[in-house]
Amino acid sequence: MMINAVPTAMYRWARGLACVLLALALVCAGAAACLAPMPAWAEVESGAEEGSALDADSGLGVIGFTRYQRGAARPVAGEDVGYRFPLPAGANLVALNTPEHLLVYVAPEAAESLELDLADPASAQAVFELVATLDDEASHGGGRMSDEAGSKSLVVTSDPSVSVGAYTYIFFIEAGGRAYCAVQPAGLAAGAAPTEAAEAMGLDLGEGAGWCDGGTLVSAEDVAPAVEPGPFDRFLSSISHVDLSPLWVSLKTSFTALAITFVLGLLAAWRTMGTSSRLKGLLDSVFTIPMVLPPTVCGFLLLLLFGRATPVGRWLIEHGVSLVFTWEAAVISAVVVSFPLMYRTALGAFESLDAAMLDAARTLGWSEGRIFRRLMMPLAWPSIAAGTVLAFARAMGEFGCTLFFAGNYAGVTQTIPIAIYFEWMSGNTDVAIFWVVVVIALSFAVVLLINLYAARSQRYRMRGGIARGRARRRAPGVVASEGDRGGVVGADEDAEAGGDVLRIDREALRELLGEPAGGSGAGRHAADDASAHPKGGR
């Protein structure tokens, strides 16, 4: 029987695993399909590195492109240079969006080394198209050079500064060892501070420029072209930087919570069972209410209890119990919401046990603790196990209460459900999808576990039945040796066959209870004998 059982279980596991893998593959494929490639500019190709692009026709490329959405009017290292945008290191290309013009500056040295004649409209256009492509990529929803080009005139130049209206644009100015692009008031006297002068004139220098791009213009050969990744690679690269801490936090929190819930839930169910009906009703309501209440209410109550906002919370904090927004708070939240599941299942299982059987054990002198350990636990075990798995799942899925009471601290209280919500909210949809996949896989595993366990416990029952049948068949032999306590031998044999608990045959017990007390002896051997040898000579 056991030898057969192992391969069957393995087969089922394998089949279950295959199902999970299939589901995972489907979800992954779906997620990858969502991340469709972005359309590129017609002639300009994107480079492999971020902020790079090349145009094979003109032989030009750009690397290290960065877009600065806003500048600052602060002095650089004590030097007032006007409203300035930073430029990336090594920049020789600057593009500036001004109220009436799009200004593109190429450093003279760069134009020379690339043999670029900016007076040639084709070359100027080629440079602008590179800039516009990269600017579109970096715009992130802000204005786009390509859109602005329709209403503004394009100036591509190598002049160090350009004056338009009230503003002078200086493309390349060094201050504090760094390069900047600056906006200054037009016609500024030599040596005057531009920001102060602008203030005196009532001019807002920030209005003179919308945004600024900087980059390095190079030959197209110096830019590595982008390799179009497959959808799977794309998905892999997007999840390769995922911080796995929510998984560990989730597992750590739920297992700790489960251990506490398991003990508390069983004890509560056991003791509730023994109390009077009125008290029992009250206790039952108190223990079950976290399941009925919305988790946010539990979280709010816990926050009030332990937080600084209430006298109780302040008293607790003063006495060293500072739990709000810590990992312990996450565990407590998980315990509170998972406890009713454990308690309810255990109570249901205990109550479905035959009270007469428990009473029988009491008459045999078993202590309450022993009845709980040796009788109630093993008999109710399949239900308790299922309750444990449910409680674990609930602890794992806890969101509202945890968020309220423990907050969202990555690596400390950020569990998977919280990570999913916040990743989605902060625009990292791919990471959120990754966690959704993980949760689905975990849930599959949990459900499989329940099913496998149910199958196993049924087999256990069946085996027990066989053992009982065997015991009955062997009964005459046991009778022969009963007088000299040969029952011990019988008990050992039966322990091998099916375990002692199952051998407490209710019918036999009832008969035993009907007999005068003198015949039963004390404790377990008597019970063992009784089931091994149904008396009454039927």
Binding site: Q69, H140, G141, I260, A309, I317, E328, S426, G427
Partner: protein, 291 residues
């Protein structure tokens, strides 16, 4: 009868033991866990020799830019950061009231920082205005919705995402802007009513990023966010920039928390944010203008 009383008494005793065990369990977990992961939020007790680990509470709109500046700072000084909380400014102040350990608070409005100051949550001497921002109306990327004035909001079809004004400063600014166009009843931007032409289409968001996300996912046609939010979310673009005079000036004040055990280190970081040229580059990239 006697057994019933006995078991009841036992039960009470058991409850006491369980509660004690739970508390003891908690405290012992604290010890073992802190040493195991070393990434608990800062709880104080940090002496000068300890590695400085700063806990920052920052306005939700800083969610993409601030981590870059933090990693710059870690590179240059070795100071590390606990997981920074990015929520609606009102929620952050509420969380501080709740007893969360904090070193630095950066909010998206003077009002929320005033609230924190009133409750003695921040050190007023360290308070300074850090950034300015613009209020914009966004639409989904490529959408053909046209908004040329605040009055146009009433004629836009579909839902309008606005931050919940109590917790989200951007929502309050948005309501002020709407009030300037007669679409909201209270010029303060709070405790008012939306005009009937938009009232049933306003979707309130718990933070400004959520409003941006509602528009990006298509749940809302337009939304009121900061221009810096446009750059940190994919899939949205600026449809209209609200005139600066339509709402109170948008400033981001920053301050060291009154309860900070490492106030000096916290103040140094605030200085770094405002003066370091690399940090300034990051702010410029994400569209924050220094105040």
């Amino acid at each position: 009868m006697s057994r019933a009383t006995c078991s009841r008494r036992k039960f009470v005793a058991l409850g006491g033991v369980a509660a004690a065990a739970a508390l003891a369990g908690c405290s012992s977990q604290t010890d073992s866990d802190t040493s195991a992961t070393g990434s608990m939020p800062v709880k104080g007790d940090a002496t000068a020799d300890d590695v400085v680990n700063l806990q920052i509470f920052a306005a939700n709109s800083l969610e993409k830019a601030l981590p870059d500046v933090e990693s710059l700072y870690t590179e240059q000084t070795g100071v590390t950061f606990a997981d920074t909380q990015y929520k609606g400014s009102g929620d952050l102040v509420e969380q501080m009231r709740g007893g969360a350990p904090v070193d630095i608070l950066i909010t998206a409005s003077a009002g929320t920082m005033d609230d924190a100051a009133e409750d003695g949550l921040i050190d007023d001497d360290t308070r300074k205005d850090m950034f300015t921002n613009e209020l914009v109306i966004v639409r989904a990327m490529g959408s053909d919705v046209k908004v040329d004035s605040l009055e146009d909001v009433a004629s836009v079809e579909g839902n309008i995402a606005i931050g919940e004004p109590g917790a989200v400063p951007a929502g309050k600014y948005a309501n002020q802007a709407l009030a300037s166009a007669g679409l909201y009843s209270n010029v303060e931007g709070e405790d008012g009513k939306y005009a009937s032409s938009i009232a049933d289409r306003v979707v309130e968001a718990d933070k400004v990023g959520t409003a941006a996300q509602y528009v990006a996912t298509g749940d809302c046609t337009i939304g009121f966010v900061y221009s810096s939010d446009v750059y940190r979310y994919d899939g949205i673009e600026i449809a209209y920039t609200c005139p600066a005079e339509s709402h109170q000036p948008i400033v981001y004040p920053g301050a060291v928390a009154a309860s900070s055990k490492q106030a000096k280190a916290a103040e140094e970081f605030l200085d770094f944010c405002m003066t370091n040229e690399d940090a300034l580059g990051v702010w410029a990239e994400y569209g924050f203008e220094l105040a």
